[in-house]
């Protein structure tokens, strides 16, 4: 069953936002976002904590009213046709707990009633979803006994009970172990292959790179880059040469590196330069550093990544990216 609304649809793209703004007092959490997510896409919203990802998603899922601007989800206005939006979307929010006193099956049952699924179809639907997310054996256990990964999988099942047109996943793998992340990624891909449009927020570069057809990089409430991951990486151009030197030699090393390209923002303690000419010039850089009597502790040539795209767009690296658990 694909849900339909009770009022008129006006646009075919599942998610359209125009000049979406949300202020909290003086704070501009979202500051004029324009975006279109096409049918069948996995769209990634990438940014650090506090960038405005979750606020934007909360507006698109009708949980927050925009201060200004408009948005349509599944063809319905998020303010004027909020109930129709809710009937057509699935939402798994990072900060929405699952009642620990209920069993997985009971929660699916409750969700089915709220979405108007007939009682005679409810059990089959719940059983199918529990099997799909690998929770059949735990269906009658209270959620309080579930692991973090099991809760996220149940959360996903809950968001799918009514077979939504658009699925919003807010930081779906934050805090999960690598195996649970891979399982969830696979499930998201499978849902997408079946036709569900997915919008996910993440602060993990690898997650955005692996899952998203297109991404938007958000920083301080504004979208600073948008496009396919491969295209965005190409815009950064040259690979980044990363070196570590002693603190005392940092300034002279910067002077040397600046001769080979534009200095790039890096993690603290590391220097980076967009190396014009690529790998062929690494030896030349090493010789120049040697001539300047600079002792190189570590040297690494890094191909453009989404982190480079992020750094190039915002002037700083994605916060916490280095700490994200590596899957696979």
């Amino acid at each position: 069953m694909r849900c339909i609304g009770k009022t008129e649809r006006v646009n075919n793209a599942p998610i359209v936002a125009e000049q979406l703004v949300r202020h909290f007092g003086e704070v501009k959490a979202v500051d004029g976002i324009n975006l279109t997510v096409n049918q069948g896409e996995i769209f990634g919203f990438l940014g650090p904590n506090g960038a405005g990802k979750s606020t934007a998603v909360r507006m698109l899922t009708t949980l927050l009213r925009p201060t200004s601007g408009t948005a349509r989800v599944a063809g319905f206005d998020v303010v004027k046709q909020a109930d129709d939006v809710r009937r057509n979307i699935g939402v798994a929010l990072q900060d929405a707990a699952i009642d620990p006193l209920m069993t997985g099956f009971e929660l699916l049952e409750l969700q089915a009633v709220l979405y108007g699924i007939p009682a005679n179809k409810m059990k089959q639907r719940a059983d199918d979803l529990l099997e799909r997310v690998g929770l059949t054996a735990a269906a009658d256990r209270r959620v309080g006994t579930y692991s973090g990964g099991m809760r996220r999988r149940l959360d996903l099942a809950l968001s799918l009970i009514h077979q939504p047109v658009v699925l919003f996943l807010d930081e779906p793998t934050t805090g999960l172990d690598p195996m649970s992340r891979l399982t969830l990624w696979e499930e998201v891909r499978r849902l997408n292959r079946e036709g569900t449009t997915v919008m996910l927020t993440t602060q993990y570069l690898e997650e955005a790179d692996q899952l998203a057809d297109r991404i938007a990089i958000i920083d301080h409430g504004r979208i600073v880059r948008e496009g396919k991951p491969a295209d965005l990486k190409r815009t950064v151009g040259d690979p980044t040469l990363l070196i570590n030197v002693s603190r005392a030699q940092t300034d002279s090393a910067k002077t040397v590196l600046a001769r080979f390209g534009e200095l790039r923002p890096t993690a603290e303690g590391t220097l980076g330069v967009g190396l014009k000419g690529g790998a062929e010039r690494v030896a030349e850089v090493v010789r120049a550093l040697d001539e300047a009597k600079i002792v190189v502790e570590h040297l690494e040539l890094s191909q453009p990544s989404l982190d480079d795209v992020f750094a190039e767009a915002t002037g700083h690296r994605l916060e916490g990216a280095e700490n994200a658990p590596q899957a696979g």
Binding site: K6, T7, T61, T62, L63, L64, R65, Q81, D83, D84, R86, R87, I89, V91, L93, D95, A96, A97, I98, D99, L101, M102, E106, E109, L110, Q111, V113, L114, Y115, G116, R142, L158
Partner: protein
């Protein structure tokens, strides 16, 4: 867009089931709400057994018979905060958002949360009656009296739960809801729950005269001691029902304000 009443009713039933299951799955919450009022009744029965001969006390066989209504009201007040505290917890931990992101009836979200503690209020009244019966407590009004006291337990729990929900919706903090509990406790002791108003004087008497809890308790007390009367029935049922209407209106207004502020 207006929701069909049948859809709202289905949401209400499903959410009420959740809140009821939640209460009975927390023995640490159920136990004290049943045990402490009975403990106070036993203590009062022993300490104040001779108080019933004081001028102003009604003609009763035992202090226990006199204090039955007070015990029921005390227990229900103890338990009635749980629904509102659970609502605040839902807001704190995000389950409230989960429900709001679904096409769930907003009023069903509120009343579904209160249903569990209201049913628990009725169950508390029934348990207190059943436990105290073997100790010689008899409700003179008969079956109608027993049923009325149980229904009063439901209505009182609902009324107080709705009032506490205003705090829950305003603050989104379970601690804030629990923090208001002493106010209820003080109101209970400044009523005729444990002594007749006729034995009081001064400010204490004036507060008890103005305290609606006094009239609720006295209605149940008359059903227990004197039997059925229109006044007793009205005080037992109409006062908590009236308060419930008022506090429900306040809770709905606060819910609306919370949703508008999003």
């Amino acid at each position: 867009m207006r929701r069909r009443p049948a859809e709202t009713a289905r949401h209400l039933v499903a959410l009420s089931r959740r809140s009821t299951l939640a209460i009975f799955r927390q023995p640490a919450l159920v136990g004290p709400s049943l045990i402490f009022p009975l403990f106070f009744a036993a203590l009062g029965s022993s300490a104040f057994s001779r108080a019933i001969s004081l001028p102003g006390f009604p003609q009763v066989d035992s202090y226990l018979q006199f204090t039955l209504a007070g015990t029921v009201t005390q227990g229900v007040l103890f338990g009635s905060v749980t629904g509102a505290a659970a609502l605040a917890t839902d807001i704190q931990d995000g389950f409230f958002d989960r429900l709001l992101a679904a096409p769930a009836s907003r009023t069903a979200i509120l009343f579904g949360r209160l249903a569990g503690s209201s049913l628990f209020g009725a169950m508390q009244a029934l348990v207190f009656l059943l436990v105290l019966l073997p100790f010689g407590v008899v409700v003179q009004a008969g079956l109608l009296g027993y049923v009325s006291i149980v229904v009063a337990g439901f209505l009182t729990a609902f009324a107080v739960g709705a009032l506490m929900s205003v705090v829950a919706l305003k603050t989104g903090s379970a601690e804030a809801v629990q923090g208001t509990f002493p106010v209820l406790f003080i109101l209970l002791f400044l009523s005729s729950a444990f002594f007749p108003r006729e034995t009081m004087s001064g400010v204490y008497r004036r507060i008890a005269d103005a305290n609606p809890i006094s009239y609720m308790v006295e209605g149940q007390r008359w059903l227990t001691i004197d039997g059925v009367s229109l006044t007793a029935m009205l005080q037992t049922l109409a006062i908590p029902a009236g308060i419930a209407v008022l506090t429900t209106a306040l809770a709905l207004r606060q819910l609306s304000a919370r949703l508008r502020a999003r």
